[in-house]
């Protein structure tokens, strides 16, 4: 299977990438000791998916706290999406937040800045 499944730990979010649906979900806090190792897997999956076909890719994020290297890794991921979007690929990010924590929305909009692909920030119902 080409699906990606990483269980949530205290310092890393749950990650599930569905090859079939073209959806990658990330849920939780991210402050791993080795961000490059953790995000390396995620980035590799995205690169594989983008390279393998021309089907749409959607990211569904419920990320709360992130350390600096995780912030950098997420920006690398958004750069990948921007590149794909630039060559006509259908990519999108939906970033959901707990309405009791408006800060997450503010941070998500910092990430969204200068992203030209569809990037929706919405309160979780």
């Amino acid at each position: 299977m080409n699906d990606l499944n990483l269980t949530k730990t205290q310092s890393t979010p749950a990650v599930s990438g569905s090859w079939e649906a073209g959806v990658l979900r990330m849920d939780g806090d991210s402050y791993p000791e080795n961000s490059y190792e953790f995000f390396g897997e995620v980035i590799a999956w995205i690169e594989r998916f983008l390279g393998a076909s021309d089907r749409p890719l959607r990211l569904e994020l419920r990320l709360v706290y992130m350390n600096t290297s995780s912030v950098k890794a997420m920006m690398d991921i958004f750069d990948l999406l921007a590149e794909a979007h630039g060559s006509g690929r259908d990519v999108a990010v939906n970033w959901y937040y707990d309405p009791r924590n408006e800060r997450v929305a503010e941070l998500a909009s910092e990430f969204k800045e200068d992203c030209e692909f569809p990037f929706v920030i919405a309160a979780d119902a």
Partner: protein, 270 residues
């Protein structure tokens, strides 16, 4: 016939010079001139050199263009990376700020009794340890008062826990009202309150605690039956330099026990 020498005139342009040489070489009148061969050779050599120079300039321009493009792309990449780093730092700072605020809120919550809003036992222990250190550095001593609500179990049993909780809140309000600005107080546990009166001898402290006792006596909590009257008893003791926190508290407890034994709603001291 020797060629008449040219009158000195303005310097010829390159094109005009070439045209003139070409005309001289083509003129049959000069076919036998011994300088003609030399001039023709010089003409060919010069044409060759011009061609080389043009090629050299073209190649060199190419390199310049290439350098410039690579410089520009380097500068662009540098600017992009700089903006990226700024963005990472900005986002990261915000995460850090919210974390700091959460940690401050947690710290605040960890030291406060959620029911009465007074400091909790942990808060009291920290502050009393600070007081003891202050005394060890030569600061003045303090008086410690341990207060306990009289017949609190009966209040809870007869009126329910909600009224019991309200009683504790009222008492906390009385303590806050009666104390001086620099006195410390908190909920020691259950229906016990602890008051620290810094730089205060026991006789002066007794007057302050008496104000607290009198305030509590005035509480009339509305209930379904008659308004509920509440009283509390207090045990006072002065901190003795060098002793531990539990030594002081235990002595205050002895005084409190005596106040209870003597009929409650009063202050005793050891």
């Amino acid at each position: 016939m020797p060629e008449p020498s040219q009158p000195p005139g303005p310097e010829l342009s390159e094109d005009a010079l070439i045209a003139r040489i070409e005309a001289l070489l083509a003129d049959p009148a000069h076919a036998d001139n011994p300088l003609r061969d030399a001039l023709a050779g010089l003409y060919r050599h010069s044409a060759q050199q011009r061609g080389r120079l043009e090629r050299l300039v073209r190649i060199s321009d190419g390199y310049h263009l290439f350098e410039r493009a690579s410089n520009e792309s380097l500068a662009q990449r540098y600017d992009k990376q700089l903006r990226r780093i700024e963005k990472i730092a900005r986002i990261s700072d915000r995460y850090q700020n919210s974390l700091r605020e959460v940690s401050e809120a947690l710290k605040e919550a960890a030291l406060r009794d959620p029911l009465t809003g007074l400091g909790n036992r942990r808060f009291l222990i920290e502050r009393i340890k600070e007081e003891n250190q202050r005394c060890a550095r030569g600061g003045g001593g303090y008086t410690l008062a341990l207060g306990d609500v009289d017949r609190f179990k009966m209040i809870n049993d007869r009126y329910g826990h909600e009224i019991g909780d309200q009683t504790l809140c009222e008492i906390a309000a009385c303590i806050r009202r009666a104390l001086r600005e620099y006195d410390l107080c908190g909920r020691w546990g259950g229906e016990e309150f602890l008051i620290v009166l810094p730089e205060t001898r026991i006789t002066d402290a007794a007057q302050v605690v008496e104000r607290v006792r009198a305030e509590i006596e005035r509480i009339a909590l509305p209930t379904v039956r008659e308004p509920l009257a509440v009283t509390a008893s207090f045990g006072l003791t002065e901190y003795r330099p060098g002793e531990s926190l539990s030594d002081t508290v235990n002595r205050a407890d002895v005084a409190l026990y005596r106040a209870k034994a003597a009929g409650r709603n009063r202050i005793d001291s050891v």
